[in-house]
Symmetry: C2
Subunit: 650 residues, 2 copies
């Protein structure tokens, strides 16, 4: 509701720019892309009257304010929609604006051509054209460098001699004529991450469980021995639960027991003890130097370390003494512990982000992130971000990325959909999802169709964890090893980022009765595992991760299309990225063989008439001749899925 009065040039505009894409909430939040992506910008651009328009988008690197904006022309393609594209080459924060102006010269030329074609007199029109040239010349003479002015003089002379070179003169005039009726959109923000923000393969482990003697706490040094195997399985991110000193006061025992025994290691999320807080290492794991050595050893295996960032403190955290004002105090003076009534977490104090000492608290938290960045950590898995202020995360992540744009943040928020989406909008690079609780083909199809299409795909990057220390889903509890295979293959093919938590490869599925919690959860005890145990899934994990690395279609969120089948237990879909096409069919019933027909519409291949094609199953090397309707028969344990690459059209 602006004031629109004659003389107010801002609203005297002729040209409107609408429906700019890509944009999250009309430009309120950044669109997410990765280095190497092609940025395609499109907009509806139109004006009153019949004049032609020209348009471009200007892309600016916010981290290099001194650098020149790049300019890309937007071309009209249909129904007042303009489009242009450019390659993204730099890991940084950017903005683009769309500009449009009246194409005075092009409009004149078009009308002139029509009249000439119709055999009309064009003497007046030519005098208008001459005036345009004079105007361009005046502009060029004022601009630095006389090259355009000289060229315009030559053009005027050649026009007088009736031998104008239409093409060259067009470009020359566009460059030199003032851009009449110019309008410009507000800036649209864009985050360009490193490619791993989208495509990453996560393995989660408790380093204290890397030992070989039951119940004996392992060190970082011992945990190094696990790295080659994890890397060989094809993972590139190794995520560790908090590695900091664990509190003693109200320490929890096995299975969340209220009282811990003297040998119980405690829960890593009860952060802080005499040995230090969030910037210290649990002495039983080793020293900060040991951690540095662990990071370096992982890097040699091309494994990146992701740290947990859990903003909460055990009663023994140094901050409880040094900064009591950062916690909640009751009128009776006691500090509030965490609770979700009637549940109580006496071993954890939440932090009061709204404290009057807010500036110091927020700065201290930011410094923790920067501290670990300084120790080679470029990925943080943020614990329960939705219970802390959105504004804090937006600020802290922007601050970290300002100096370290390569840093990624994974939001561990299992909460209501709009809250999870907002965390993506305000800057989390990746997010946990509802994948764990989507068990039927229909559920997965609906969920993936939301995740992989605009608006969501522009700001929310899913990371499909098949299990976590907190979640042993019912299907894994009841479906046995076949269910583990099925959920692994789903996670690894549906989402470019996915992960498993240690023990998955052994199909561990002992749960607390009626709960999604592990029995004897590793959150409270030290575990020892034999990863070479019979029937382990390491081979399948290695195979599917190799397939992911070889097939770009599996590295992108978009390009997914589901196919109908005539058996409700079969999920079928295709993913494509340029020439790479992968077709997947999975039996989602871990208990029974299912067979049926996968119906692949011709338009999936962008071909008009129907054609047959050769596919190879990347899991076992079998070759098939497929077409529109394709019979499949899938056995839960021995062949739960086809992962087919289209080799050639026949």
């Amino acid at each position: 509701m602006q004031g629109y009065f004659p003389g107010d040039t801002a609203v005297h505009r002729h040209i409107f720019i609408e429906a700019v894409e890509p944009a999250v909430d009309a430009g309120q939040y950044p669109v997410k892309r990765v280095v190497g992506d092609t940025l395609v910008v499109a907009a509806d651009i139109f004006r009153d009257g019949h004049e032609l328009l020209r348009a471009q988008f200007c892309l600016r690197d916010l981290c290099r304010p001194e650098s020149e904006a790049s300019r890309t022309q937007l071309l009209h393609f249909d129904n007042d929609r303009f489009q242009g594209e450019t390659k993204l080459t730099c890991n940084t924060d950017m903005v683009f604006v769309v500009e449009a102006w009246t194409d005075v010269y092009g409009t004149w030329l078009q009308e002139l051509s029509k009249k000439v074609t119709a055999g009309l007199q064009v003497k007046s029109e030519l005098s208008e054209g001459a005036a345009l040239l004079q105007q361009a010349l005046a502009s060029a003479q004022q601009a630095p460098g006389a090259a355009d002015a000289a060229a315009l003089v030559a053009l005027l002379q050649s026009l007088e001699a009736a031998q104008g070179d239409g093409h060259r003169s067009h470009a020359l005039l566009h460059r030199t004529l003032p851009r009449r009726d110019l309008v410009r959109t507000p800036p649209y923000p864009l985050t360009v991450d490193r490619p791993q923000a989208r495509f990453s393969t996560w393995y989660e482990m408790f380093p204290r469980s890397a030992g070989s003697k039951p119940g004996v706490h392992a060190t970082f040094f011992e945990a190094q021995a696990r790295l080659p195997h994890i890397a060989t399985m094809g993972f590139d991110v190794l995520y560790l639960p908090p590695i900091h000193p664990i509190g003693i006061t109200h320490r929890k025992g096995p299975n969340n027991a209220l009282v811990a025994g003297p040998q119980d290691p405690g829960c890593p999320w009860a952060i802080g003890a005499a040995a230090g807080g969030h910037d210290a290492v649990e002495p039983a794991l080793g020293t900060l130097e040991d951690f540095d050595a662990f990071v370096a050893a992982a890097a040699r295996q091309r494994l990146e370390i992701a740290l947990d960032f859990a903003v909460q403190c055990s009663p023994d955290h140094p901050w409880v003494q040094s900064h009591p004002q950062w916690f909640y105090h009751r009128p009776d003076g006691s500090i509030k512990y965490a609770e979700n009534p009637p549940k109580k977490y006496e071993d954890v104090y939440p932090v009061n982000f709204d404290t009057e000492d807010q500036e110091a608290l927020w700065a201290a938290l930011l410094n923790l992130l920067l501290f670990w960045v300084g120790h080679g950590v470029k990925i943080f898995r943020v614990d329960n971000p939705h219970t802390k202020p959105f504004a804090f995360w937006q600020w802290a992540m922007a601050e970290v990325r300002r100096k370290h744009p390569e840093v990624l943040f994974l939001a561990e928020a299992f909460t209501r959909p709009k809250v999870m989406k907002l965390l993506g909008k305000i800057g989390f690079s990746q997010s946990y999802t509802y994948f764990t609780w989507r068990n039927t083909p229909a559920e997965l199809r609906a969920y993936l169709e939301e995740l992989t299409q605009a608006p969501m795909c522009d700001f929310y990057r899913p990371n499909f964890f098949a299990n976590t220390p907190d979640i042993l889903p019912e299907i894994l509890q009841t479906g046995g090893r076949a269910a583990f295979k099925m959920r692994l293959l789903l996670a690894a093919t549906l989402s470019p980022s996915y992960g498993i938590y240690s023990g998955f490869e052994l199909s561990e599925n002992a749960a607390l009765v009626g709960r999604e919690e592990y029995l004897d959860s590793e959150k409270y005890v030290v575990r020892v595992r034999d990863f070479s145990a019979p029937h382990n899934l390491c081979g399948l994990i290695t195979r599917i991760n190799h397939i992911r690395r070889e097939n770009p279609a599996l590295q992108h969120l978009q390009g997914l299309q589901f196919f109908d089948t005539d058996n409700p237990n079969l999920l079928a879909f295709g993913k494509r990225c340029a020439d790479n096409i992968v077709l997947v069919a999975i039996n989602m019933d871990p208990h029974q063989v299912h067979h049926g027909t996968v119906q692949i519409p011709a338009d999936f291949f962008g071909k008009g008439a129907w054609q047959r094609y050769e596919v190879v199953d990347l899991l076992d090397g079998a070759v098939y001749n497929w077409g529109q309707d394709n019979y499949v028969r899938l056995m839960p344990d021995t062949q739960p899925a086809h992962v087919l690459r289209v080799e050639k059209f026949l």
Copy 2:
């Protein structure tokens, strides 16, 4: 991309408000409603953490800035979506904002209840509650009037006596506690028109053709004789092409001939002559007083006059001499006439809205509108608004509505879809449409589904003209009287506003060969008609307009649902408004009888199981017993459609 730093309270917010509805382009343009509508406001509202929220929307009348904003509570109904509603009672421009804040008291009470239920100690929690009461008391004591303070003291005393009245104390505390974490959206604009903006029935006529002698120009006085018949047929808007003096220079003859004969009346859109410009009346029609008398006579028949507003001048318009700077001049000094190369309109000069004398020109144009408003004109049909600056219309319409919110504007723009939509966004009350060129059930269904659903239904009000002096569509040229009936019934039932142009009731369909133009178009000649000629459609027109007045379902744009049929020549749909349900089936082939089955899904009636119901055909009174699949047989000339009202469920 705001700066977010600790201490910047604007971004330290906990609460987010998203997806506010209704809104056009996120609040950039007003949503359209009419007096009597219920305004339903909804928004996604959520915060970090587990605290409860309260929300309201505040509605303010922009034309009465001194008046208090009305406040309506938004209640949570599902998935973080809040909703509330209020009745719109005043024809005015409004804005609403949505506000939300943390429900400190409710959150405390909820946690307390959970703990009490679980049998936990709540001593600390009670001390927190007491602190809340003290805070509320402090606020109440500072506020004017001590009523709440006294009530709070009583509440504190009753709590001490453990006999608090939960319900009353809840409301009291919400009123008195400060609204913590308060956030407020930007204002969302809203235009509340009079009801005729949505529901209106138009008749277009050239008053000069109201005589009885062929070729003799009629006067306003003679045209008064037509008013009772037009009113009896059920029309409520009588739209007149320009009534101003018609230019002599380059006047067009019959069928747009380049040279006019001495008796040729000229085209009314070539405005301006010695007798005056846009504020004068063509002498052959009478005087300004005669026009006033015509308006008054129409009003007595409950007919409103809509005037044409065509911003263009004949070469004889007074402005050409008095304000030459308002026109386009070529370098050789000549004034540009209108053209669409290679077509030329030598009898019309376009106006240069970008003239350096813009302020005076725009003011003069606004004054023309206000002049005719002063003569009782409250509806303008604006000629080709898309060839004049959007900014002019936005300004001029807002200026008129500021003093005369009852004035309506119909945009006669037949152009590209996004341009037509923008005209609706910037303030046109109604718009011409593509209806005339949508001839198959599939085309109409797709088009109506766009028109009647958000976002378009919130800013674009269609007016379905079945014909205009410029458009005699092919279907009417080839389909004979049956086509006229079919198109009349479609327009009148699909759109709450529709219109016909004089001669439609006589099925006039002589066209220029291969064109959509009338042969001997009334734009250039005087016509005389016998409206009592055999086979006239006046009876059907009267009937359908009566049906429209009796059935609210036909007066609204929304509430439309199409039904599948098994014959591609049959279009079937239902419209509902509260208890009023109208079902329509139309044979869209004017040449052949068609029959088939209309399939009405049970969910149209919002009923779970299937039920039969009684319908009455409002066109002929026949009664049928309908259900899910209903056989219809429709004869082009004798029974082209059923227009059924659901009478009762059986």
